[in-house]
Symmetry: C2
Subunit: 199 residues, 2 copies
DNA sequence: CATGCGTTCATGTGATCACAAATCGGCAAG
DNA sequence: CTTGCCGATTTGTGATCACATGAACGCATG
């Protein structure tokens, strides 16, 4: 989810079993679950890799984020008290620091933390779970993208999100969240050949 | 997904293995996948049952359907030619027959077939996959609901969906789909104690 | 030097087993 | 009649093994 693994990274049952000091059985179960959630791709022969998403699939997943995240934000809005906004603000500061360090994995993780902290307030576990499967599928691709980007500050829409929360303005919040999502994933189109995975 | 199993139905690895004439290993993998998709609930001790959804969770899942399905319908609209609309219409006739027979499982299956046939035209496999995990979670509950209902015809919004498709009217289509989803799931609130599962 | 082929090795699959934990039953006591 | 307890049994978990399949590598040939 946070982009630790690049797209196309191959994994083997025995390799994972040895790495985590367990037998193949629990690894198989965990891998099956990740495959079911779309976090891993199963080739026709049963080989497992992290997904290399096509542009069309990225756009679908981005559209799902753009549908679900504003809804979760809107549901969180009436419960968003000052302490939460304050916490979001400090997470946003950490996000800026990760951007300055050009720490792609840290940036993705902190960005997801920002969004998840807000959405947790929506008290909608099923919706959040679905959204996280979408994040999971985008993880490796996001890493490939942010690894190339030379961003050095937090997303500008985050400030709009915080302002809308403080103002209690739901339409503005929905717009800000949607803009943040679609803006962040806009740079994904010319990304296929720019990254070369190490298999 | 089609409501073959009632909510709270318990399943055992050995029972499923014996039923499908395989060993426990493939059953465990399949069950793990279904748990990951929310089709089955894993108790703290590892027991598996079909989910007994709370009202809040049902409303979340209904909200997800109401978000995703209009989008899929809108994406399918430009590709919906006459042959597709004709096929949808005949599926809708079969739906009416299932309603007359008070065949709950057949009704759910045919209703899902109606929606899936339309959404397949959207050419958005990731979005459809996510939607199907939502359907999967609702399956047992839908059976419990439609089993009590005394409906004897196809949903009235289906005719609006077909009309919007013929007219190429996207806003009307989105509204009709959303109304169909929210209307179908409105009867779920007083459902908890009306059905008694056989464990 | 490129290309096709054959062998070897790695990998996933299904099955079986030992074990621990939890469930369900009956039984007895109040 | 209800309630608590104890034992038998069911059940999930992790591990290991045999096997078939597909991939990878090297070698020989053009």
């Amino acid at each position: 989810m946070i982009g630790l693994l690049p797209p196309g990274q191959a994994l083997t049952l025995r390799g994972l079993a040895a790495r985590f000091r367990v037998s193949m059985t629990p690894v198989r179960e965990a891998v099956r679950r990740l495959v079911a959630e779309g976090a891993l791709t199963l080739s026709s022969s049963g080989r497992m890799t992290t997904p290399e998403l096509s542009v069309e699939r990225i756009e679908e997943l981005a559209a799902l984020r753009a549908l679900i995240e504003p809804e979760l934000a809107a549901r969180a809005l009436p419960r968003a008290h000052f302490a939460l906004i304050d916490r979001l603000s400090s997470i946003n500061d950490a996000l800026g620091e990760a951007a300055e360090r050009h720490d792609a994995v840290g940036y993705i993780r902190t960005n997801l933390e920002f969004h998840r902290t807000l959405y947790l307030r929506a008290q909608s576990p099923a919706m959040l779970a679905i959204l996280e499967t979408v994040w999971l599928q985008l993880g490796p691709t996001m890493r490939a993208v942010y690894g190339r980007m030379r961003r050095n500050e937090a997303p500008r829409h985050h400030r709009m999100i915080l302002a809308s929360l403080r103002a209690g303005d739901e339409p503005a919040l929905r717009l800000a969240v949607r803009a943040d999502v679609t803006h962040g994933l806009r740079h994904l189109s010319p990304s296929e050949d720019a990254y070369r995975p190490t298999r």
